[in-house]
């Protein structure tokens, strides 16, 4: 078990190193001078000013050398010079061009909003999706089943941002059912936190639940025809218990796999949701960084944080297998 974990963590680390190299290379090998956005941020950018900045930032050195300095910053404090000199404490992901704040400090500020959005939204779609899917499986072939499947296809054929925009315009602005859609830290009270995020949660939850409903339905229809489910019926187990105990229990492993990866994806930034509902999280931060003038250190940080959660989620899902499926439990 420990050996398995060590191996998985080592390969996860390797993946993250490769991702960081790729992102780093993209910016430096791409067209244009990476110092340009920074130069644009300080009044008129003259060629002399640009050249000076390029020299100060060490952009004339080889990419490998620069990556070395950047990577070293993850474990050692370093100084960053773009005109004025900034101290950047380890783990240093750079200094934001636009705010002149340490990227890690900003990350810490923005992450709770994204985490809150992701937890609420993911739980909503998991619960709603699995319940609807089980119901569809129970009544498969009937009008209830067909209705649910059709509804789910309809919802998932509308782009997410259209649903989110419509929800915001009607439910928040026009009808004022959720007048306040904004992020309040949970430290200010669970009530305002939950109420402020309720509409984004519902939007994320209901639109994504269709995927889970169809996936759960498919899994359940499959397990319902398994011999061991028939055995349960032959023992005299109630129909609903056959469904929600024996059949659902056997369907849960692939559902958890899907959920783990989806949840990690949400943690990497719920871009549309944060943008439309104006929530200051990782997604919004990333979008602002991409728009000209680009904020390279922030972009690198958001890509890395996204990759980090996906990699961790994969390990967690693998560990969950051994909890959920006794056949892969390592003794």
């Amino acid at each position: 078990m420990l050996g398995f974990l060590v191996r998985r963590l080592a390969s996860a680390f390797l993946v993250l190193v490769l991702v960081s190299m790729a992102v780093f290379a993209l910016f430096f090998l791409g067209p244009g001078n990476p110092a340009r956005p920074l130069c644009d941020l300080n009044g008129r950018c003259t060629p002399e000013k640009l050249e000076l900045l390029t020299e100060q930032m060490g952009l004339n050195d080889s990419v490998v050398h620069q990556y070395g300095i950047w990577a070293k910053g993850l474990v050692h404090d370093r100084q960053i010079d773009f005109g004025p000199t900034y101290d950047c404490q380890a783990p240093c992901l750079g200094i934001s061009y636009s705010t002149r704040e340490q990227v890690t400090t900003e990350l810490k500020q923005k992450f709770p909003a994204t985490l809150s959005l992701a937890i609420g939204g993911a739980l909503t779609y998991l619960v709603v999706g699995v319940i609807l899917g089980s119901i569809a499986a129970k009544f498969r072939g009937t009008s209830t089943d067909r209705g649910l499947v059709t509804f789910s296809l309809l919802v998932s054929s509308v782009p997410f941002y259209v649903v989110a925009l419509l929800a915001w315009i009607f439910l928040s602005l026009t009808w004022k059912i959720f007048p306040d859609t904004s992020y309040h830290p949970i430290t200010e009270g669970v009530g305002p936190w939950a109420w402020g995020l309720m509409l984004p949660w519902l939007v994320i939850g209901l639109t994504n639940s269709t995927v889970y409903a169809r996936f759960t339905r498919g899994q359940m229809v499959e397990t319902l025809s398994e011999d061991y489910v028939r055995t349960a019926t032959a023992k005299g187990v109630r129909r609903n218990k056959v469904l929600f105990k024996h059949s659902l229990r056997a369907s849960v492993v692939p559902i958890v796999t899907l959920f783990g990866l989806d949840f990690a994806f949400l943690l990497g930034g719920t871009v549309f949701t944060e943008y439309i509902f104006d929530i200051d999280g990782i997604g919004n931060w990333g979008i602002r960084a991409i728009r000209a003038p680009q904020d390279f250190p922030v972009i690198t940080a958001t890509v890395l944080i996204g990759a980090f959660f996906i990699v961790i989620a994969n390990i967690v899902v693998d560990l969950m297998y051994s909890v959920l499926d006794p056949r892969v439990r390592v003794s």
Partner: protein, 427 residues
């Protein structure tokens, strides 16, 4: 002889005592199971009638797709009512099963009637411990605490011969060997002391030593609780070991039925002959080839006309005209033995078996000089016939059921017990 003839007639044709049917714990009456599909109606079981009494073991034999499992799953109501058409009647302990609602069925399932499924690896839930699955079966029908049910599960595992039951009870099915899984399956089926146990190929996946242990176990448990057992198998060895009576099924119908001893020694239906010829003989020459039944089982979407076995039957030329192709034979009284019935147009199947089939499948039992069975076999045969004749148990198919089918005519030219003619052949 005369008294025996009268005995049969009294019991069968003249005054059927009502207790004959009442004593039967399971009465399957003109059961048809059909599945509508896109390609048409699959006629899995057609007009099947049989009875099983407490303490009796009925063996149901036949090829895959002959309707053995389908008919017994109907007893537990395990077919999805939406995709299954059930006709006829199944009475368990006097209660009607066909059309019963789910709550009535639930009380019966696992409690009065339990089933041992064929492949214990797929029939046990992979995510629940063996003990959990056994105690769940117990708690459904007994309101006891979890710890009491677990004690019961350990007791059952112990009884079916799982070593260290106390520590193995929390194991998952994949941690058990094949034989142990089958035992656990049996423990689960027996946890509520069922009156009727349906064992669907309980030993097919097991090696022979384990197979013998499992069969012994079933017999012990039957003695203890006087249960009725239906054993579904295509293994005639298992039938010979276990069953009091046999029901041979082909294409969803009963084609031959009777006491096991008779079916194995005086089969009168070419399909049963085929089953017997397909059994390997360990004493035979290694060069000897098995004789398979030619052809494939018939399509149940479009069953053959007349006798369902006629496309594969090598003896149909002995039947005058095209009777085999046009007319379904009745489940009529056989030439040899009381309570022995078969569906066949052959005018004298007994002599075809003795002169053509037996020399082919068991040449060492035939005296090469005379062409007659060897003396030892004749002795055994007489003993079998006497034992069967002295046995006055009711048949697998009750007389009432036969009357309703119109299958009851005792042909005047073919007395329904072993006759003078047969005696001539077995002096």
């Amino acid at each position: 002889m005369t008294t025996q003839d009268q005995g049969f007639l009294t019991q069968g044709g003249l005054s059927e005592s009502p207790s004959d049917v009442d004593a039967a714990y399971l009465v399957v009456d003109h059961l048809s199971v059909r599945f509508p599909t896109y390609n048409g109606l699959v006629q899995a079981v057609t007009d099947l009638s049989y009875t099983v009494r407490r303490g009796q073991t009925l063996g149901i034999v036949g090829e895959s797709g002959s309707g053995k499992s389908v008919s017994s799953m109907a007893v537990l109501g395990l077919h999805n009512p939406k995709s299954t058409r059930l006709e006829g009647s199944i009475k368990v302990g006097g209660k009607e099963v066909v059309g019963a609602d789910d709550s009535q069925m639930r009380k019966m399932r696992g409690n009065d009637v339990a089933m041992i499924f064929q492949d214990a690896l797929t029939a046990l839930h992979p995510f629940y411990s063996v003990g959990h699955q056994i105690s769940e079966a117990y708690r459904i029908h007994h309101s006891v605490s979890k710890s009491v049910a677990k004690k019961r599960a350990i007791e059952m595992l112990d009884r079916v011969g799982i070593p260290q039951a106390r520590s193995r009870v929390d194991d998952y099915p994949h941690q058990f060997s094949g034989g142990m899984r089958q035992r656990a399956m049996i423990a689960m089926a027996l946890v509520n002391d069922p009156t009727l146990l349906i064992a669907d190929e309980p030993t097919t996946a097991l090696d022979v030593t384990v197979q013998a242990q499992i069969l012994d176990l079933l017999q012990d448990l039957q003695r203890e609780f006087n249960s009725a057992i239906i054993i579904i198998t295509h293994d005639l060895g298992v039938i010979a070991e276990m069953a009091d009576d046999v029901l041979v099924m082909y294409a969803g119908r009963a084609v031959e039925t009777g006491p096991t001893k008779l079916i194995l020694t005086h089969p009168e239906m070419p399909y049963t002959w085929g089953l017997l010829s397909s059994v390997p003989d360990v004493t035979a020459d290694t060069e000897a080839r098995l004789i398979p039944i030619p052809g494939n089982p018939p399509s149940l979407l479009t069953p053959p006309t007349g006798c369902p076995f006629h496309p594969r039957c090598v003896h149909k030329d002995k039947v005058p005209g095209d009777l085999c192709v046009t007319t379904l034979p009745e489940l009529a009284a056989a030439q040899v033995g009381v309570q022995h019935r078969r569906r066949c147009h052959l005018p004298d199947p007994e002599s075809v078996y003795q002169t053509e089939v037996l020399p082919e499948i068991a040449p060492d039992l035939i005296d090469p000089a005379t062409g007659e069975p060897i003396a030892a076999l004749q002795e055994i045969d007489m003993a079998v016939l006497e034992a069967v004749a002295a046995d006055n148990r009711p048949g697998v198919v009750s007389e009432r059921q036969l009357r309703e089918s119109g299958d009851d005519q005792v042909r005047p030219d073919q007395p329904a017990t072993f006759s003078k003619e047969n005696e001539d052949r077995h002096p």
